[in-house]
């Protein structure tokens, strides 16, 4: 059992059914839940589940709300290619928590749409004791944004 960084396959299908709206302010609400290193979240994950999620002092099941201050962007790199991309505009912060069982993944999911999964992001296994866990996002560019859709 292990967590694997991936864009959720169901999310790719749901992009074609207008299930997810990343527009700032008027779009959906996205959340971020932490998962134990012993859990299994990966491309096959279709929705948020509390199975395998961390538990501990001051951690609320379901995680924290993702700050979405910038709508998705797109850039054309040629007449046949381009990239669309999106990144949360603030770090994911879990304040004053105690999470004593090792965790190593965060699931981004759409809490406005039946908690449907978006993506899984992994990092080195961690614990937190009466402290803060902060997950800072990569830069919102065509090559580093948290979620990127690019033509081949």
């Amino acid at each position: 059992m292990a967590n694997t960084q991936a864009m959720c396959t169901s999310f790719m299908q749901e992009l074609m059914t207008a299930t997810h709206n990343f527009t700032t302010s008027t779009g959906n609400t996205f959340k971020a839940a932490l998962y134990l290193a012993s859990a299994t979240v990966n491309a096959s994950t279709t929705a948020y589940s509390s199975t395998g999620e961390v538990t501990g002092t001051n951690y609320t099941a379901g995680g924290v709300t993702v700050t979405n201050g910038t709508s998705p962007s797109s850039t054309n790199t040629s007449s046949t290619a381009g990239t669309a991309y999106w990144t949360p505009t603030a770090s994911l912060t879990y304040t004053n928590v105690t999470l004593t069982t090792a965790f190593d993944a965060v699931l981004i999911y759409n809490s406005s749409s039946s908690n449907k999964a978006v993506s899984v992001h992994t990092f080195g296994s961690q614990t937190v004791t009466a402290g803060t866990f902060t997950l800072t996002m990569p830069s919102n560019t065509t090559s580093t944004a948290l979620i990127r859709l690019a033509t081949t």
Partner: protein, 64 residues
């Protein structure tokens, strides 16, 4: 002197042993700080800077 949130409530940092560390690889830059009291971990905070995104390649098929 600064106050640190610990498992025993807020404590002055000068009473505690501080340990710090970091890891830097292709996927993340992570730093952490720990405070210990008489051999007991009473505070640990972690900051992870993600470096890698997840990408999806999309394609429009050709006719013929």
């Amino acid at each position: 002197m600064a106050l640190v949130t610990t498992t025993k409530g807020e404590m002055d940092d000068f009473l505690l042993e501080k340990k710090e560390g970091s890891v830097d690889n292709d996927n993340e830059y992570t730093t952490w700080v720990e405070y210990w009291l008489d051999g007991e971990l009473v505070h640990r905070s972690v900051h992870v800077q993600l470096k890698k995104s997840v990408g999806l390649k999309v394609e429009a098929a050709s006719f013929g």
